[in-house]
Symmetry: C2
């Protein structure tokens, strides 16, 4: 087994930020990317941790994202829509620019939307909705991806894995947060089954002829299936409409056409909606934050788990003890820092 070292969260952040700077990303892009990648690693969410650095660098090297982009807050034309143009950089610095304005609008209007256009998105959506809860607001986030999922009843990739995330603030506690793909499984999970020579569970995917398959090779040549049959398929279609078509940005088939591959981070837009529970509950009986706790207690009391619990447990450990990295992970970080974009093909 690999030797491990333990690194404080702040030290890992410095390393990751330095890698992005070395690769030619500007300060804004480097800092925002390092924050979200370190948050993934901190929460033991390995698929969105330092593993993602290479993919981001490959996307830069392929010329599909601008390393020196400066996101721009656009003039507000409609009272409750905040729009940030990422200027073809990553979504994360654009979100950080828009968040305080979104929060202010949500408090004034009760509900407000943040549209991010012309961005490349490669992280999970939970950092966005969690950041909204810090402002005492509830938040929804969604975005397309690239065509890898067949609509229910169909037989070809069309929809993306289109993630859907929601957050609700909890005073003095980790927020209620969920974030999931609207496909049954992530594409990476199918790839892992292929490498391990294992059959897929029933219902994950169809082959190129549109028949259900448990063969990972056939699944990768075919399409993934949406979660929950026609219901998940409908939600995924809604995400294409609201967070692609409606905001004037790419849908999953358009992303795939543009990118020509599913191995780079996808360019598209993102839609984030913030709700002020105080505004919505104004004049009504009961405190919404206290009432939400009654619901959470009832869920936990019957032995069910709240989503994100595993992440929060890992986070507390990372905050107390630092982040555990294997020797090959630290070597990889050193290699990326030394070589910059030359480290990736």
């Amino acid at each position: 087994m690999d030797a491990t070292i333990i690194m404080p969260i702040g030290t890992l952040h410095e390393h990751v930020e330095a890698i992005f700077r070395k690769a030619g990303l500007n300060d804004i892009q480097s800092a925002a990317l390092a924050r979200v990648i370190v948050a993934g690693e901190r929460d033991a969410c390995k698929s969105h941790g330092i593993y993602r650095i290479e993919g981001a660098l490959r996307t830069v090297k392929a010329g599909k994202v601008k390393p020196d982009a400066v996101p721009e807050l656009m003039p507000r034309e409609h009272g409750a829509i905040v729009r940030v143009n990422a200027r073809h950089g990553f979504a994360n610095p654009a979100f950080e620019l828009g968040l305080p304005v979104l929060a202010e609008r949500a408090r004034v209007s009760g509900i407000a939307a943040l549209v991010i256009n012309d961005c490349t998105h490669f992280s999970a959506l939970w950092p966005e909705v969690e950041a909204i809860t810090v402002h005492g607001l509830a938040g929804l986030a969604m975005c397309p991806s690239y065509s890898t999922v067949a609509p229910a009843g169909g037989n070809k990739p069309l929809l993306g894995t289109n993630p859907f995330a929601f957050g609700w603030p909890r005073a003095g506690k980790d927020p209620y947060v969920f974030d999931f793909a609207t496909s049954v499984a992530a594409r990476g999970e199918i790839e892992l089954h292929r490498r391990a020579g294992k059959a897929l569970p029933e219902g994950w995917a169809i082959d190129a002829q549109g028949n259900l398959t448990t063969d990972p090779e056939a699944a990768l040549a075919g399409a993934m299936l949406p979660f929950g049959g026609h219901k998940g398929s409908a939600i995924s279609t809604m995400i294409e409409l609201l967070a692609g078509v409606m905001i004037g940005d790419l849908t999953s088939p358009e992303v795939l056409d543009y990118l020509g591959t599913t191995t780079l981070a996808p360019p598209h837009g993102e839609l984030i909606i913030a709700f002020s529970p105080e505004a919505f509950a104004a004049g009504r009986p009961g405190n919404p934050f206290e009432r939400a706790e009654v619901l959470f207690d009832a869920i936990v009391d019957q032995g069910a788990r709240l989503p994100s619990l595993r992440r929060y447990v890992a986070r507390a450990k990372s905050q107390a003890e630092g982040i555990t990295l294997t020797a090959s992970e630290t070597e990889q970080l050193e290699r990326l820092l030394a070589l910059g974009l030359d480290a990736v093909s």
Copy 2:
């Protein structure tokens, strides 16, 4: 087999409206209820058609909804929240009162929410989102129900069947609309299996001990399951938070506590969100309505169906030929018209 008669849509509307008036509902309640019930029957959505009249009357007779309520548009305190208090009447006239204000706010603010408080809801949600699309807007609607569904990983009823509906306008065509329960199956479907002495499909329900069951009796004594495992459970929990707790209205466990039964229509609130695609797409390339058609074509071209198709086919037939009712259905309508509230226990 039952003899059938064919009745024009307008005639059925007059009959249903007259039944509600006879039962003591005021003009506003009677007309709005008749509209939504006739729409269900017209679309061959029998579970939300004239079958629902008795349940509405039983709820009136039990004193759990006010037959003479006049919904009230509340003063607007936050720019993008429109609030209607149903004054303990049905949700439908409250929605009709709030809709034009919601549409106007969505056009100005880009996004707006309609909160309906203190209402009794017994219809599907597709009439709401479809009515929003008539204004050229996209719409989301959701509400709690009563505790009949266990959260994923739990073993007791807590969540409601919490419906989630979405609509997108299509010029010259029936809108893209979906509306589904966040439980795997509707409670009525389990009851139908029980009456037919048939086993349930796997995964619909658990027994009172929390074990998976295919026995309808055991399922009715236990709990239904959310669709899509932990993902559907998370969406259902989100609906309790946004459309119950946040808007200062009852959650599904609170509804069950208040009502003491699942055989009457549930009192709670409803949350409806309207989006102006024109506002969201402003300044961006492409027309969102035309781009949505490209997506719909791609879904249909691979043999998948758009949701609500079955309803729209039935609707076209009803509009052309009238609505087909069985002799026992027309007898029941006559009995309800003659007896009013005395027709129900």
